[in-house]
Subunit: 508 residues, 2 copies
């Protein structure tokens, strides 16, 4: 029974229905809700809040909330709330189709934030006061401490920061999760901060559960539901070719003595291509790999189960249904090989730089000078958000951006004259990799980068168009007084406009 | 006598003329040359190398070098080398007119880098091998340790990294500089890095001088010349209005209990406006200020001399002639109030985030969504470079960008529909301040930012044009499927193109 997971007698008395708990949520409130890449989000409260919103709206009353999560949640959280028009502000990351539509229709204000900044900005009061935290948990200990679920994200800060706390205890979660979390509570605010004492990717620096103020807990709701476990695509030929190039390069660096045979701690972004790189490492000539990432997906789990990877640190576990089963079945083996941390620690610039994390993230597009767009389709439409990609790109030892060279059956080029939105600048991006090839941008001036990216990474269908743009940009920019970064200002974004108008970036 | 400053007998034997020392520099070599914002650059060698280049070029021979400095140098360094066509690669920052022309004519490859990344990328081999380091110094100790000059920048890494070392001892430097430097040599490479043990902005963690391998020192040249000490403009009305708004905001935060009365450590970018903010602090209601910055200019010096600022940490001292005199005259008073560090430490993300540094930097332009261009004029022409602005913007407690709302007598607006080059993204920039007003972008979605920036920061001459662009962008982007970040793709950069064509961003 779920209630047995509440091992603190006083807190058992707070158990109630989701509908009763939703009564604490009032119009205009600012909520901190756990959830990170479809893991660790509340399963029952959002629907209860959405139903309340619909009922109030039907009566002509206003009802909407601001919500700050760890990262993306799921249809039963972001989806139901957006569908009920119950959200007026959302941060820092999302990927739900209904919520995305609300954002792109201009109805929901969305602030797209570096994940490593969220908890400190909550603590600093940059988001204003949080009225209620809604937190998914595996259990509550005898001492009234909260054991988080499959993801932590900003959960520890949410609980500390909010005036009231509502906890969902999810019986579907493996009890073996207890002990996997590492809650470091001492980040604090300047000028009283100390170094974060992680020197190895698997160092434990905190406690397995979070101390709770029982007086702040206004409701506990018992649930039994799975996370948003979506299946990964089997690595296709394009993904495998991208993965092979990344792995070849790393192997080359090992052979040149510039990387240890165990590499450096790996970060892998969300999605099929990033997952394919992890899958490729199963057969790569490296041993004793380590992970220091935000989301641990199937690929990294299988590296651990295959004993290619020794340990991994993350803030959330996001698995396909099959991988979840492997995780649950092997949880005793995995217990001393996986750490879940608050995202302030998993994505912390201090730690990422110190450890020398190798960051690999997917992109929407890169331009010929190495700027990367991770967030906006055709410059104006929000896809998901920047997530932790900037935390790793800016501070890591290596920063890879991977993508197939085209999308939509060839109608979109992932390599464009100028990205239509800039999330990672030429100052930060080190490697662009497509199935066509790789561009190593380190120590290169913009014009040298352009040649490499066009010749190595672009799809043959677009290569002549890119060469033509670059050649004409050299002439146009000379007239404008400088050809450090050649561009034709009125044409730089024309590929995107052509796609909007004709459905194809190619000139017919 | 300069030679008395070489207190190590063995190294005295390495003294020679600049011309003789320049013979070590061969065509195609990769040089690490000290210098940071017109301080600490070699005064004699560059001219000797330039003369050698000219002589060789006259004989039809090739001669050019790659050079990585701390930041900008001066006409006697970057200037003479560029004028002699002796530079084929330059990184990470520059501000010399002759060098800039070479870059913008497409003759010199320039990589514009975050300064905090330079030393680790040298150590990691991302720039290739360094043949020679040329380093300005105040003295060499009895034990053969190098005492740096008015700036350190990447000097410590340059000496360690390069095969050979050439030292210039500059007699014009105050001997009292000895003891002001703090060389922390233990940053190292992953996976063996430890926390950098700075917990207060003035903590000393290293040694006052750098241990030298005497066998690597191939030449010592004696010089007697001043740094590039240019006069700051007296704060004008526009600068004072910008400064007043920053100070009012900080005062408001102190009164609200969100900042201590001593604020948090201050970083101030280079230039007149940033200097004006420091000047404004002389009369502000704060006490016991501290500085944690890359360049310490007149404004911060005067805060220390006036006992408004307790201590300051920097990597270089860049003064006007008057301020240099005040510095030299008060050097005994200042000795326990100023620390000079390697730029890997002054600009380190770990330290900037831990200390909660308040970053204030100038910009070329910002757009209506809060993206900032620090480097490119009209999108293609390199001005100076990003310097450390990104290090502080990305990791600081607050990130301010300041600029007059117009330039060139009103022909250029500092607030544009889309910046023509992105150095700091909407994810990082917190405050835009012009003499018109301030926009607080924290916790704001793009459309809310646009209203704030247009209404608060833009110049009245451009406000209607910006409102008109934004209103039409809302319509255009709806057609393109999303109005999260409204833009008209073919018009977004048209203001810059109009300036290139007509010399004015305004529609006549």
């Amino acid at each position: 029974m779920s209630i047995d997971r509440i091992r603190h007698a006083g807190l058992r008395e707070k158990v109630m229905s989701a509908e009763a708990a939703a009564e604490f949520v009032k119009n205009g409130m600012n909520l901190a809700i756990t959830g990170f890449t479809g893991a660790g989000y509340p399963k029952a409260l959002p629907t209860a809040i959405a139903n309340k919103a619909k009922a109030l709206h039907a009566q002509g009353e206003k009802f909407s909330i601001g919500m700050v999560t760890g990262a993306s949640t799921a249809p039963e959280c972001d989806g139901v709330l957006a569908e009920a028009n119950a959200v007026h502000f959302r941060s820092p990351f999302q990927s739900d189709p209904t919520l995305r539509n609300g954002i792109n229709a201009g109805n929901i204000a969305y602030q797209d934030m570096h994940l490593s900044h969220v908890e400190q900005q909550m603590r600093q009061g940059f988001y204003g006061k949080f009225d209620i935290a809604i937190v998914e948990a595996t259990a509550i200990t005898e001492n009234g401490e909260l054991v988080f679920a499959m993801g932590i994200g900003h959960g520890a800060e949410a609980v500390k920061n909010a005036d009231k706390v509502i906890i969902e205890i999810n019986e579907a979660l493996a009890e073996g999760l207890e002990g996997m979390h590492d809650i470091y509570a001492d980040v604090g605010l300047p000028p009283h901060r100390k170094p974060i004492p992680i020197v190895g990717a698997f160092d434990r620096i905190g406690t397995p559960a979070l101390a709770l103020d029982p007086n702040k807990v206004v409701a506990i709701v018992l649930t039994n539901g799975g996370d948003r476990n979506s299946k990964f695509a089997e690595p296709d030929d394009v993904s495998k070719r991208i993965a092979a190039q990344v792995i070849d390069f790393l192997d080359h660096e090992v052979k040149a003595g510039r990387l240890p045979k165990s590499l450096l701690p790996l970060q892998s972004g969300v999605g099929n291509v990033a997952n394919a790189v992890m899958a490729g490492l199963l057969d790569a000539p490296f041993e004793d790999l380590t992970g220091y990432t935000e989301v641990l997906q199937d690929g990294m789990l299988d590296l651990i189960l295959a004993k290619k990877m020794k340990t991994a640190s993350a803030t959330a576990l996001s698995f396909s249904p099959d991988a979840l089963q492997r995780f649950n079945e092997n949880i005793e083996f995995l217990k001393d090989k996986i750490i879940l941390r608050p995202m302030e620690i998993s994505n912390n610039p201090e730690i990422i730089r110190r450890l020398g994390v190798i960051g690999m993230n997917s992109m929407i597009e890169a331009d010929i000078y190495g700027n990367v767009n991770s967030t906006h389709v055709m410059g104006t439409r929000m896809m998901n958000g920047i997530g932790g990609s900037g935390d790793f790109t800016r501070n890591g030892f290596f920063s890879f951006y991977v993508s197939p060279s085209t999308a939509k059956g060839g109608a979109i080029s992932a390599i464009v004259p100028m990205v239509s939105h800039h999330d990672h600048t030429e100052h930060d991006v080190m490697f662009i990799v497509t199935e066509q090839g790789m561009a190593d941008l380190r120590g290169k001036a913009p014009k040298d980068r352009a040649k490499l990216i066009i010749e190595n990474c672009s799809h043959p269908d677009y290569r002549d168009m890119l060469r033509d743009y670059y050649d004409r940009a050299l002439v146009a920019s000379q007239k404008a007084g400088g050809i450090h970064t050649p561009h034709i200002l009125l044409e730089a974004l024309s590929w995107h406009q052509r796609f909007v108008e004709t459905g194809d970036m190619r000139i017919k």
